[in-house]
Amino acid sequence: MNTPQVPADHPPTLLVATRKGAWMFHADADRRYWRVDGPHFLGHIINHLVLDPRDGRTLLAAAKTGHLGPTIFRSTDLGQTWQEAEMPPAFGPAKNGLDARSVDHTFWLAPAHASEPDVWYAGTSPQGLFRSADGGRNWAPFSCINDDPQYRQWFGTVQDGTPDGPKLHSIIVDPHDPKHLYFAMSGGGVHESHDGGDSFTPLVEGMEVVAGFDATNVAFHDPHCVRLCPGNPDRLYQQNHCGIYRLDRPGRRWQRIGRNMPAEVGDIGFPMVVHPRDDRTLWVFPMDGSDVWPRVSPGGRPAAYISRDGGESWQRQDAGLPQQQAWWTVKRQAMAADANREVGLYLGTSSGELWHSRVEGSHWQCLARHLPEIYAVEAVYPC
């Protein structure tokens, strides 16, 4: 998402979305002490909680419960009160001879360009793209992709998706051009628009697929998380089901930069975190993607890996993290960086722990334990 321009060392707030509700953690000036605010929506499945960087006050939460259908909640007072969207994301009737679909949950929320203050985008499961022009109160299907026969083929079926449903994620707005959009799908590849979403084209060249499958078929591509560098909007990084990649625009070919990760760790994972200013610095959090895809930290030894040279080399960052028998991992939305002068890193685990590093991953401390499974973490700067 967009990184706000903030004074260096302004205290951030963490927005933590979990399988059983949402929490906020407010930092003091040194980011040493954190005030907890929550739970909000206790018992609700919150896939994403996002602050609007354009006003610093508006929060949107993507919610559903075990029994009820999906919705969006909106707050303009930092979570003191919430209002439900009048029209949450919902697909239209059957079209183009295709099956009618229903939104299971909204997975990803993204504010539009700074020049479009009330516009938001949402990505859903199953894959769908939605837009709100009134600050998140009313949502409508967006662009041609939801009911396009070619895109439907690339979406695949629910059986082709991740365990809790195939997802449209990583909605990115080029800060230099509000009409230049990206999104990614698990599965279904990375896609780009230059006309504000009227049309999209695949952007998968150079990306690998599982052995035995055809890399020219967009349906077989499974990007897990794509991020644009705030310090250089022409550079993108991607954590994929099949490796770590970099793309420098206007080029169209992704370069696999995970080959230099230690062989015993590999370059499989879900999150991708980029430095707020330095386009050569990024972090990943590898996951065990061997045989049956255990989806835990390799060897039970969790670690972030940092590259300070655009992916040419990688260094392990596990100081302070458990050194053995820690079988958790970090989901694609659950790792984030703040924008402070000394960049803070944050990660939420599948076991409900929230960890932070005050200086770029050099040392980790546990900030909270015993939360529900963490789905998303955002480091933001409320006004």
Binding site: T65, G66, H67, L68, G69, T71, E84, A85, E86, P88, A90, F91, G92, P93, A100, R101, S102, V103
Partner: protein, 85 residues
Amino acid sequence: MRVLIPSALQSYTGRQWVDAAGTTLAATLDDLERQFPGIRFRMIDEQGRIRRHIRFFIAGEAIHDLAAPLPADGELCIVQALSGG
């Protein structure tokens, strides 16, 4: 008709029992939506399908069809069906 609202939906109604009018299940849900905006979509998806863990009962009998007629003086029970952790 009296309608029993499950706990998960009482944030909309503010109470367990409400009154709604309608000769079919669909019409009764439309009347609930008119009174309590947003409540219908949490139970019925955008294609008019009853969501997976929502059940409707009249006099102990499950109703699976939105077009099903409802007795004017009955009680409609909306139930959140059991689902895992």
